[in-house]
């Protein structure tokens, strides 16, 4: 409760938003706010200014291309993803979004906000890494496209630099995905998570074990191969009240096996 003083603007175009972000060093984009506002309430982080993206319809919506590629506007909420007919093209998206927090948070929280906040417990960063999504980032100088592997840089830190915005998330076609997690209570915060994608080679991204999702690429979805790959990743997970480093390490392995198995069982 009781945020520090902050300035606020609600631009009506991406260009306008970029201009404000670029000319105000301490400005941050405000998407759904379900992480940012919470952190500001604790006064743990306090941007000088918030640029509310709510009016930017260009950043909303889900498009399904003929080849199965999904383009998602970062301001699309979890609820919209869960309800979207187009998003069913990649079924895992709605499945995972439906497990995030609760109705109220899903109604406000956005896919872009989830990715850009990159809290290590978030569901979507490992999911995006496992399915090999790409992110389009716009700045005043133009656009660039970054793979999910390179997008996440640290806790609350991504490739979206000062003066930039995430403008699109692109998911290739594919259905053989799975997500496994041990959470703090049902639909709670992830204690450890693993997202697997077996559309071509197997990609497993582990959540909650480092500042960014850790990608492992086992030779196959066989339990032995998956375990070996996770063990070979040199994980050094953080310890907290919910899990020791050892327990997280163990969970990562178990969840990777489960996610890989579920992905392999899908057609």
């Amino acid at each position: 409760m009781l945020l520090r003083e902050v300035e606020y603007a609600k631009p009506s175009s991406v260009a306008e938003a970029l201009q404000i972000l670029a000319s105000n060093d301490g400005a941050r984009a405000l998407a759904g706010g379900q992480t940012l506002i919470s952190v500001m309430k604790a006064r743990a982080a306090s941007p000088d200014a918030l640029v509310d993206l709510a009016a930017l319809d260009e950043l909303r919506g889900i498009e399904l291309a003929a080849d199965g590629t999904l383009s998602i506007g970062p301001m699309t909420t979890y609820t919209e993803l869960v309800d979207s007919a187009e998003a069913k093209a990649r079924p895992i998206l709605a499945e995972v979004c439906a497990q995030i927090a609760d109705v109220q948070v899903r109604n406000r929280g956005t896919i872009g906000g989830n990715l850009c906040s990159n809290d290590p417990t978030n569901h979507l960063p490992p999911l995006m890494v496992s399915i090999g999504a790409t992110m389009t980032i716009a700045g005043q100088g133009g656009e660039r496209v970054v793979s999910a592997d390179e997008f996440f840089l640290g806790v609350y830190l991504t490739a979206v630099g000062p003066g930039e915005l995430l403008t699109k998330i692109t998911l290739p076609a594919g259905k053989r995905d799975a997500f496994a997690a041990v959470t703090l209570g049902v639909d709670g915060t992830c204690i450890a998570s693993a997202a697997a994608s077996l559309n071509g080679s197997l990609r497993i991204a582990l959540g909650c074990v480092d500042a960014t999702p850790v990608l492992v690429e086992p030779a196959s979805a066989d339990e032995g191969a998956v375990r070996e790959a996770v063990r070979g990743a040199g994980l050094d997970p953080p310890a907290d009240v919910h899990a020791s480093a050892e327990y997280r390490l163990h969970l990562s392995e178990v969840l990777a096996v489960r996610a890989a198995r579920q992905a392999a069982e899908r057609s």
């Binding site: 409760m1 009781l2 604790a42 703090l184 209570g185 639909d187 709670g188 907290d240 009240v241 919910h242």
Partner: protein, 825 residues
């Protein structure tokens, strides 16, 4: 004694209540305002020109304060002023200490003075014209610290190498006492086996009421009186603490409450913050408001007592007959004794648990640590001890290869032995524990459990079942505080109710209690309506507490499972008086018919044999209040009756620590069925039964609501809720993000059942209830241990069992499980 049983009552449509109202599911009178958002909770109250308080809190668990500079904060625009510990120390005296020495020597003020002793301790209060500005200004207060080593593990608090929290106490020992009853040597000589348990740990958590603490305080300079709008749940205690400290009379502290958003004991010890509010209201000459935010609450308020049990030895016969035990209880009080060390005796209300062992020795030691102060929490101090007795039963059964159900039945106190005097002189009033256990095991389909276990195994899950059988001792005899400190002059208990018949015939009930959701307005109205022969809608029960109503006594409040006894007995007493007065008035007005010939019915006093001859209550109220000329001189009737209920207590033998400590003993038997995923330690409760016996139930629906709520608290405590600190004394679960309480999806299927054993000691046959003894924690611990049978066979030694601990017990049972041994005696 007649007991009736209802198993898992089917929900039925609420029917129009019939008289008698007692025993009916009368819809709650409170609901109409609460479902419309029209309740008045403390943060809803506003006053013109009020200032908002924000506390500067310590980031260190243990540090000297070398300097405090409030000048920048005070010069900020919109800031009304500040209050520092130094000012508090000059304006007030330290709070009265319940403890004998050494704990009794500590000096406790409303703000930290010279030193901080836990993360989140309040150091300075800042007042500004908005909440936001107050917080902004609090960031401008400059405090310099000299950090000290923190004491965070009670087991090492008394080590010479550890720093001392309170120099005045000369060490970290706050209180200790030895309790021994029976003949331990004889019991261990008679035993076939001695089961030894090195260590058991009951963790720190609390009930986290959804509304946190708060107050709005006004100072009337002319008469020197403060009006304290607050959600403190035990104003009588707050007044006793605050008056002497503030060097003022009790009547200068007017406490007002209305709706309180949950209490569970956690809202008893807000007196330090209330003192700060009072001092600031006077200093700044304006109303001041304080709302505690969630993180503040977690860091600083009312943690439940954390307790260790060391070197436990249990004397037992080969057939599982329990003879006695000895143990050493080590209680972690946190940084201050705000209600402590009462926990050092409260446990003794349930010394033997539900069992017949007669030889018991418990050495109790309470120490100070650099953590938030503990205070009562639903099941206060008995929950810890009952968890201990339940763990002992299940560990003994496990070690001797006996069925825990059989061990319980063999050792339960028998219904034919009720009322039963415990080894320490407490009297269990009534109950049939074995029958309750049967009801509980039936509800979870005990006979089919082995099939379910196989089914779970086929799905790769470990199924376990556990029982928790507990007591909810209600209505304290406050003389037990003398076992802590013989110099204290408290004993007995009391509660007040005033019932009047007003000028237009309104029946107005004033309670001394401070309900936080227990439905006192409704149950009180049921009792009154039955006596006065009117409807519950005719009875207006005032909401909340106001010391100006003069309907309270020293122990007034809502805590310690007692309303159904103290509150309703006071209501009954006052209403009986009023009924008698109405009849005496009726006797005069109806032409001198004898009082015995009159009855109260349909809102009238009337002649039994001639109901047509009736005087409406409205007429009675009007006559006495506004039309009284010509009434007989000797008609001593006011129609405004105040009654103080005083339970029948004696002062116990303090030397022997022997005597009756509580009036009633409600009982709970819970049964939990869980399934563990052995790969991850993740587990779910797949079936659950809660059976309760609280004697006569005035409003069964309200009783069942308390049972279900207490169960949810127990399940939360068993699985995820813990106030965990790191070695530096940082609280790792400072809000609901990491302190996970049960949400709707977390709640398992819940079946309820009842046994009704009326209390022979209370006017209505009721027993206090609501705390529930933490039965769910015991049941879950036992179920986990059962599930681990043949899978490492770890002994569950901690009351907190998040997934990580279950996994640790599965993966390294020797180190993660408790150490237990059995020796032949």
């Amino acid at each position: 004694m007649g007991s009736t049983t209802t198993i898992a009552p089917e929900k039925v449509e609420i029917q129009a209540p019939q008289t008698p109202y007692k025993g009916q599911n009368v819809p709650r009178k409170e609901d109409r305002r609460l479902v419309q958002g029209q309740g008045v909770f403390v943060d809803d109250i506003k006053r013109h020109g009020m200032g908002y308080i924000h506390f500067v809190r310590s980031p260190y668990a243990h540090a000297h304060i070398t300097s405090i500079d409030v000048s920048k904060a005070e010069s900020m625009k919109g800031v009304f002023g500040t209050l520092t510990g130094e000012e508090v120390a000059s304006l007030t005296d330290p709070f009265f200490q319940i403890s004998s020495v050494p704990g009794g020597n500590i000096k406790d003020y409303a703000l930290a003075v010279g030193k901080v002793r836990y993360v989140g301790e309040a150091i300075v209060a800042v007042v500004a014209e908005t909440r936001e500005l107050a917080r902004d200004a609090s960031e401008l207060v400059e405090v310099e610290y000299e950090p000290l080593v923190a004491v965070t593990d009670a087991r090492h608090a008394l080590d010479d190498s550890k720093p001392v929290l309170h120099e005045d106490a000369g060490g970290n020992l706050m209180w200790s006492g030895v309790y021994e009853w029976g003949d331990l040597d004889a019991a261990f000589a008679e035993a076939d086996k001695v089961v030894k348990i090195d260590e058991l740990h009951f963790h720190r958590f609390n009930s986290t009421p959804l509304e946190t603490d708060g107050a709005l305080v006004e100072f009337n300079r002319g008469v020197g009186q403060w009006t304290i709008h607050t959600n403190n749940q035990f104003p009588g205690f707050a007044a006793i603490m605050m008056g002497p400290a503030m060097r003022t009379g009790i009547d200068k502290l007017r406490f007002v409450t209305q709706d309180i958003g949950g209490g569970f004991g956690n809202k008893i010890t807000s007196h330090p913050q209330l003192v700060v509010c009072c001092l600031l209201a006077r200093k700044l000459n304006r109303p001041v408001q304080w709302t505690e935010w969630r993180t503040d609450f977690h860091m600083s308020m009312s943690h439940g007592n954390e307790r260790w049990f060391h070197d436990t030895e249990v004397a037992v016969k080969s057939d599982g007959t329990l003879l006695g035990f000895r143990t050493k209880a080590l209680d972690d009080a946190g940084a201050w004794l705000r209600y402590e060390p009462l926990g050092g005796v409260i446990w003794a209300q349930v010394t033997p648990g539900m069992y017949r062992w007669r030889h018991i020795r418990l050495e109790f030691t309470q120490v100070a640590t650099n953590k938030a102060p503990v205070s009562p929490n639903r099941g206060y101090s008995r929950m810890q001890h009952l968890w201990f007795t339940e763990r002992v039963i299940d560990i003994v059964a496990h070690e001797l290869g006996l069925d825990p159900i059989e061990v319980r039945k063999r050792n339960y106190i028998r219904t034919e032995d009720m009322p039963y005097e415990t080894p320490n002189g407490c009297v269990y009033d009534s109950g049939d524990y074995a029958q309750m256990l049967d009801v509980a095991t039936d509800l979870i389909g005990w006979s089919a459990l082995e099939e379910k276990r196989l089914d779970a195994a086929a799905r790769g899950k470990l199924l376990g079942v556990g029982i928790g059988s507990t007591l909810d001792s209600g209505t304290n005899n406050f003389a037990q505080s003398r076992m802590i400190n013989p110099e204290l002059q408290f004993s007995g208990n009391n509660e007040v109710a005033t019932v009047k018949l007003d000028i237009f015939g309104e029946i107005v009930v004033t309670l001394g209690t401070t309900p936080q959701g227990q439905g006192h307005e409704t149950t009180a109205a049921q009792v009154v309506a039955d006596i006065l022969g009117c409807t519950v809608d005719d009875v207006h029960v005032r909401s909340g507490h106001d010391s100006y109503w003069n309907s309270h006594a020293g122990f007034s409040g809502t805590y310690a499972s007692q309303f159904a006894v103290t509150g309703l007995s006071a209501v009954k007493g006052a209403t009986d008086m009023l009924a008698e007065e109405i009849k005496r008035l009726g006797s005069v007005i109806l032409g001198g018919v004898p009082v015995e010939a009159l009855e109260l019915a349909e809102g009238t006093v009337r002649i039994k044999d001639n109901p047509e001859a009736a005087l409406p209550f409205m007429a009675c109220g009007a006559i006495i209040n506004a039309n009284n000329a010509g009434l007989p001189d000797d008609l001593d009737v006011t129609l405004n009756c105040r009654y103080v209920y005083r339970p029948p207590f004696q002062v116990p033998d303090i030397e022997r620590k022997f005597g009756n400590l509580t009036l009633t003993y409600a009982a709970q038997v819970h049964a939990a069925v869980i399934e563990i995923d052995p790969e991850t330690g993740y587990y779910e409760i797949v079936d659950y039964a809660a059976v309760d016996d609280c004697g006569k139930r005035i409003n069964p629906q309200i009783v069942e609501g308390q049972v279900m709520g207490a169960t949810a608290h127990g399940l939360g405590g068993a699985m995820h809720e813990v106030f965990e600190y790191d070695e530096e004394g940082n609280l790792l679960t400072p809000n609901f993000y990491d302190y996970h309480v049960p949400h709707a999806l977390d709640m398992p299927p819940l079946k309820t059942g009842f046994v009704e054993s009326p209390s022979p000691f209370t006017p209505l046959g009721t027993k206090g209830m609501g705390e529930g003894g933490g039965a769910a924690i015991h049941a879950v611990c036992a179920a986990i241990q059962d599930a681990l049978r043949g899978n490492g066979d770890a002994i569950v030694w901690d009351s907190s069992n998040p997934y990580r601990r279950v996994w640790e017990m599965l993966s390294s049972p020797d180190t993660a499980g408790g150490r237990v041994s059995v020796v032949d005696a």
